[in-house]
């Protein structure tokens, strides 16, 4: 539901980085969004399209990479990935001692720029 704030934030960061490197246009933006972040890709794209107008990112595409929720189990010593947005037990052995390693990402990864 807060995709608008996220889109606003990522456009600002992209513009900032583009200008700092002395470029004039942003051609694409790549973001990594974890499945547990609660961000809906379609809503993020929609907000991005609306907010980029009139900025140097006007022609930019937004590429969203979805990162699944994954972790490592201390009991069976295996890596696992789940479909849910949370982990309450290791899906392999059912153990409850594990570290969640991915799924919360909300990162801008890379931008493509031109003069």
């Amino acid at each position: 539901m807060h995709e608008v704030s996220i889109a606003q934030g990522l456009i600002e960061i992209a513009i900032d980085n583009c200008k700092k490197q002395g470029y004039k246009n942003i051609d694409s933006i790549k973001v990594k969004i974890g499945k547990a972040s609660g961000i809906v890709s379609d809503s993020l794209l929609f907000a991005f399209e609306a907010l980029k107008t009139g900025t140097i990112a006007e022609k930019a595409n937004l590429n969203i990479e979805q990162i699944p929720v994954s972790g490592f189990c201390d009991i069976c010593n295996k890596n696992f990935t789940v479909d849910e947005a949370y982990v309450i037990a290791c899906p392999i052995c059912g153990g409850s001692s594990f570290k969640v390693e991915t799924g919360r990402e909300l990162n801008i990864d890379e931008i493509e720029v031109s003069r």
């Binding site: 704030s5 960061i13 980085n17 609660g38 947005a85 949370y86 909300l106 801008i108 890379e110 493509e112």
Partner: protein, 214 residues
């Protein structure tokens, strides 16, 4: 040309939150970000907490709502310092909104500042505003499937206040399931069972608040 950025999109918010936090620390006020879905009882809990701790803790409030000043008026009528933020459609408070209003409160005179976030079980959990602690309410009438459906807030909160337990006889809510699922998402969660209507259980909560502030 490609530029590797690798930045958290909420970094700007987190930076402002850290500045707010410094202002709170310098003023010596403990700050709680209070979150829940709409109508779970945040303002009711604030009202009962302010009454119960009158003369013991000086409590100030920031009210976050999409529109209106009803909640701030309820706090104001109890004589506690309060400011209202209207997000105008925004589904959560962010750090900058707090920066804009926090100096309207007598921070140095307060022991505890509670920020009532916009009623929403999803978005507020993602945005730090400079608080020392996040706490959330769930009213038992919202259903026992909520922790696993909306895990983020349960994971980020230090305390869960299960409100409206006076309604238990009229619902099929499985309190044990709510507690079990919440604790498996967040083993360190402090859980309080209260009714803001009857006052049942609120003593444990206010006792805990006092232990945090001292």
């Amino acid at each position: 040309m490609k530029i590797k950025v690798v930045t958290n999109i909420l970094e700007a918010n987190d930076r402002i939150a850290a500045e707010n936090r410094k202002v709170f620390d310098d003023a010596g006020v403990f700050v709680i970000n209070l979150m829940s879905g709409p109508g779970a009882g945040k303002t009711s809990l604030l009202e009962s907490t302010i009454k119960d701790l009158k003369g013991i803790l000086k409590i100030g409030v920031i009210e976050g709502d999409i529109a209106g000043t009803d909640d701030a008026q309820r706090i104001d009528s109890l004589g506690a310092p309060v400011v209202q933020i209207n997000t105008g459609g925004g589904c959560h408070l962010d750090a900058n909104m707090i920066t804009e209003v926090m100096n309207d409160l007598p921070l140095k005179d307060l022991d505890l500042l509670i920020i009532e976030n916009v009623g929403n079980l999803v978005c507020p959990a993602e945005f730090n505003v400079g608080e020392h602690m996040k706490a959330m309410l769930l009213s038992i009438a919202e259903g026992h499937d909520k922790p696993l459906k909306y895990p983020l807030m349960f994971q980020k909160s230090s305390a869960l206040i299960l409100n409206k337990i006076d309604l238990l006889p009229y619902t099929n809510a499985d309190l044990e399931k709510i507690k079990k699922d919440s604790l498996s998402l967040n083993p360190k969660l402090m859980i309080f069972e209260v009714s803001c209507r009857t006052g049942e259980g609120t003593g444990e909560w206010t006792k805990w608040l006092q232990s945090l502030v001292k």
